[in-house]
């Protein structure tokens, strides 16, 4: 084949360009610490890394939701535990009152105790998390329990005269946080779940008890209330168990997401990130090839027959 000067020049330049191109690409990888700078570099890899990124986003979002839900439920747990303690005190007081040996004066003391305790329950049931009421169902902005003096209202409804429709509407109010794809956790414990509704709601029981104590009713009057109080207490224990259960579920999910996050992060990194040692080695190699090409170039370009004739 006849080889002309322009061919040698062209060849030399082509090789030089391909070397500089390689160096440029490696340097881009080094400076960005990313294997994939454009998605055409590796469309499928890029697609996968995008998918992983969106999955990671979701997991992080779920984890944040779980944290918020856990704090809310822990606040609820504290409040319900306090309720449990108070119920124990009420139970003892009523037990005392039902004993035949109790004098009127002591019944009065018990009545006063109960009035105090009722006030305490009232405060606990209006507990807030941040500035949101936790026992109000959808109602998080206003105190759910209001004492008008003549009656106690829950979200504006009289508990004794509430219709079953109203009650079931209240009971169905859930504050759901999304903690997984299509999976929700209800952070709300309804006030009525704790206190009960209708004639047997705790406030009504206490009110009746206080009146009976103040009227110095005979001991036998109180024994049915012992059962009622006991039932409320069981109810509250159930609520504690439920809150505990929800918190456990959240903790379990949180662990799982932490693990998932780590795994996805590892996969994403293996797709996107460079292997430093590998890229640096390649770059060094490309540089030395480039230098060699330059050296060869000076050999190709300089001499011609001109240097040797005459």
């Amino acid at each position: 084949m006849r080889v002309t000067n322009s061919m040698m020049m062209r060849n030399f330049l082509n090789n030089l360009y391909s070397n500089t191109h390689k160096i440029d690409k490696l340097q881009r990888q080094l400076s960005s610490y990313k294997k994939l700078n454009r998605f055409s570099d590796d469309p499928m890899g890029y697609f996968r890394s995008l998918e992983l990124k969106s999955r990671l986003d979701k997991i992080q979002q779920y984890s944040r939701n779980i944290n918020d839900a856990t704090s809310w439920l822990q606040q609820t747990e504290t409040a319900v535990m306090e309720m449990n303690e108070i119920m124990k005190v009420i139970y003892e007081n009523v037990l005392n009152a039902s004993a035949d040996t109790q004098a009127d004066v002591q019944k009065n003391i018990v009545a006063n105790n109960l009035i105090q305790l009722k006030e305490q329950i009232f405060q606990i049931m209006n507990t807030t998390f941040g500035d949101k009421y936790i026992f109000g169902g959808y109602n998080t902005t206003k105190a759910p329990f209001v004492n008008t003096g003549s009656e106690i209202l829950y979200n504006g409804i009289n508990l004794i005269s509430a219709t079953s429709d109203e009650l079931s509407d209240i009971m169905s109010q859930k504050l759901n946080y999304e903690v997984g794809k299509g999976s929700y956790i209800n952070v709300s414990i309804n006030g009525l779940q704790v206190l009960g509704a209708g004639e047997d709601n705790l406030f009504n029981i206490l009110d009746e008890l206080i009146v009976a104590l103040q009227n110095d009713e005979p001991a036998s009057t109180f024994s049915p209330y012992i059962e009622k109080i006991k039932a409320r207490q069981d109810n509250i224990l159930n609520v504690i168990a439920e809150v505990g259960g929800r918190i456990n579920r959240l903790e379990f999910l949180y662990e799982r997401y932490s693990l998932d996050e780590l795994n996805y992060e590892t996969i994403r990194s293996s797709i996107e990130d460079i292997d430093m040692a590998e890229v640096v080695t390649k770059l060094e190699m490309a540089r030395s090839v480039y230098n060699a090409a330059l050296a060869v170039g000076s050999n190709i370009i300089q001499p011609s027959l001109v240097n040797f004739l005459w």
């Binding site: 084949m1 006849r2 080889v3 002309t4 000067n5 322009s6 061919m7 062209r10 060849n11 082509n14 990313k34 700078n37 454009r38 998605f39 055409s40 570099d41 590796d42 469309p43 499928m44 890029y46 697609f47 995008l50 998918e51 990124k53 969106s54 986003d57 979701k58 979002q61 944040r64 939701n65 918020d68 949101k132 109000g136 169902g137 959808y138 109602n139 998080t140 902005t141 206003k142 979200n155 504006g156 109010q173 504050l175 759901n176 946080y177 999304e178 794809k181 299509g182 929700y184 709300s188 011609s304 027959l305 001109v306 004739l309």
Partner: protein, 499 residues
């Protein structure tokens, strides 16, 4: 036989050597000239002179009359030219496509925080925060901001693509101008070449210029160029004659082609100026610009296809979110008169100039004014909020969040996966175009390499030729000396006997 005949042979040899040296000089001088084709002196031995006698001379040993320069020819391979021009058009097409797609790809850079995916992620995060505090003012403001960012990002993606389409449209007009000016230059070169060659010479340097123009033209559009039986150059585009010698048919770009993006006839349509019929463009940079500008179906990837998908995303996003949002109830607040109303859209329903509803597109997607003006019009609750009980109802927000997790939304499947799908297609196409361009480029380089092997000047070769011609010249000069000495003997030293 003529006594001075030997001098005549030597003179011809001298002239021929001189000519050869001149041509060598021309070659060396043009070693770096673009498009220059190596020239060679074609010499031939001259037949014996019969001296005009009617009869054969008695002696049979006839001597030839020396050498003559027949022509100065170009060392060029027409087959390689044809191959080069055919492949060069494909190279041009893929060069435009790979560059165009890379430009699009750059604008869709997903590693930056300003991508559509990032905007969607941000929107989902804001929804999640609102779901936890559905009556929170900051959370509502945050959702509005994220919504605005999302719509602006989609709008920006649209306008970027539209700008790129406009650029390709302008490039088509520019290409038409370029093609026309090249054709005109070639026609005028044809005339010059004919005038030059009518004397029997070869217009080598003019032909070089013409070949260079043909090479340039071949990158723009698919051409076949050949010389017809009359020695005239013919250029054809998809079997339609574009130029024959000095007559030609130009291209015309008229703004009449339908644009699927705008729905108006605002793109350039390229026709033959003689007949007004559309030009059948098969390849070349012309075709590259056309495909990127018009490419709609999947096998012909272009900007309208991307915009169409972006529109689909914007439309379904607006429709699905609106249908959920408008079923929710707003939060009562001083600013909206403590009312909880339903039926408010999150995204605005766009209207045309005369107030008719038009579909949502990537260009016009925007947040409903009612929501921009009052964040309490974001409907988070699934039931009417009576008084201020029930402000914690977040069902609508949860439904909106789960919308982004669905994979069965009509037309798109899932928003995120759909958008990622568009990106993946763009990536695959860009990658394909880049590979295609690199392959085609290597092929054209290879052909050009072969062409150079035949036609380019090798300095070493020219120098060795120079040495050769120098020696020929010296030898011819020596011939004259020899004949001179012979004649000297004949004229001055003969017939002196007895003097």
């Amino acid at each position: 036989m003529n006594s001075f005949f030997g001098l005549e042979i030597a003179r011809r040899a001298l002239f021929t050597s001189q000519k050869a040296i001149d041509v060598t000089g021309h070659n060396i001088a043009n070693a770096d000239t673009k498009g220059y084709t190596l020239q060679r002196v074609v010499t031939a031995a001259v037949d014996p002179d019969l001296g005009g006698t009617r009869f054969l001379p008695p002696a049979r040993a006839l001597v030839g009359c020396g050498v003559t320069v027949q022509n100065i020819e170009q060392v060029r391979n027409a087959y390689l030219d044809r191959q080069y021009r055919k492949e060069n058009a494909l190279k041009g097409e893929w060069e435009v496509k790979s560059q165009g797609l890379e430009n699009i790809e750059m604008f869709f850079d997903e590693s930056s925080g300003s991508s559509v995916t990032a905007a969607i992620s941000r929107f989902i995060a804001s929804l999640n925060e609102l779901s936890k505090v559905p009556d929170g003012k900051e959370q509502r403001t945050n959702l509005l901001q994220s919504g605005l960012i999302l719509t602006e990002t989609i709008n920006h993606a649209y306008s970027t693509l539209k700008t790129l389409q406009d650029e390709h449209n302008r490039a088509i007009k520019d290409t038409v101008t370029q093609i026309n000016s090249l054709v005109k230059s070639i026609a005028s070169l044809n005339e010059q070449i004919e005038r030059f060659e009518i004397r029997g010479d070869r217009a080598n340097d003019l032909r070089d210029q013409r070949n260079l123009l043909l090479d340039d033209l071949s990158k723009l559009i698919n051409i076949t160029a050949y010389e017809n039986s009359g020695g005239h150059l013919v250029i054809e585009v998809s079997n339609k004659t574009m130029l024959e010698h000095n007559t030609y048919d130009l291209l015309e770009a008229e703004q009449a082609a339908y644009n699927p993006v705008t729905g108006a006839n605002d793109l350039y349509n390229v026709v033959w100026s003689s007949s007004g019929e559309p030009v059948d463009v098969a390849t070349g940079t012309f075709k590259g610009h056309l495909d990127l500008r018009d490419g709609d179906p999947i096998d012909n990837f272009g900007i309208p296809y991307l915009i169409e998908n972006l529109n689909k995303l914007a439309r379904t996003l607006a429709e699905e979110i609106n249908s959920i949002h408008s079923s929710g109830y707003t939060l009562p607040h001083e600013s909206n008169g403590y009312t909880s109303v339903t039926g408010i859209n999150f995204f605005a329903i766009p209207t045309d100039g005369s107030g008719n509803e038009v579909p949502v597109t990537a260009q016009n997607i925007s947040i409903n004014e009612e929501i921009i003006n009052n964040i309490f019009n974001i409907a988070a609750s699934s039931v009417e909020i009576d008084g201020s009980y029930g402000t914690g109802n977040n069902h609508i927000v949860l439904d909106l969040i789960s919308l982004f997790e669905r994979n069965d939304i009509p037309e798109v499947g899932g928003f995120n996966t759909f958008y990622r799908g568009i990106l993946a297609e763009l990536g695959v196409e860009t990658n394909y175009a880049k590979n295609k361009y690199e392959g085609q480029s290597a092929l054209v380089d290879n052909i050009d390499y072969n062409r150079m092997s035949v036609s380019a000047v090798s300095i070493d070769e020219e120098l060795s030729n120079l040495v050769k011609y120098q020696h020929s010249y010296a030898a011819a000069a020596r011939m004259i000396t020899a004949i001179d000495e012979a004649l000297d003997i004949l004229i001055n030293k003969t017939g002196l006997v007895g003097r």
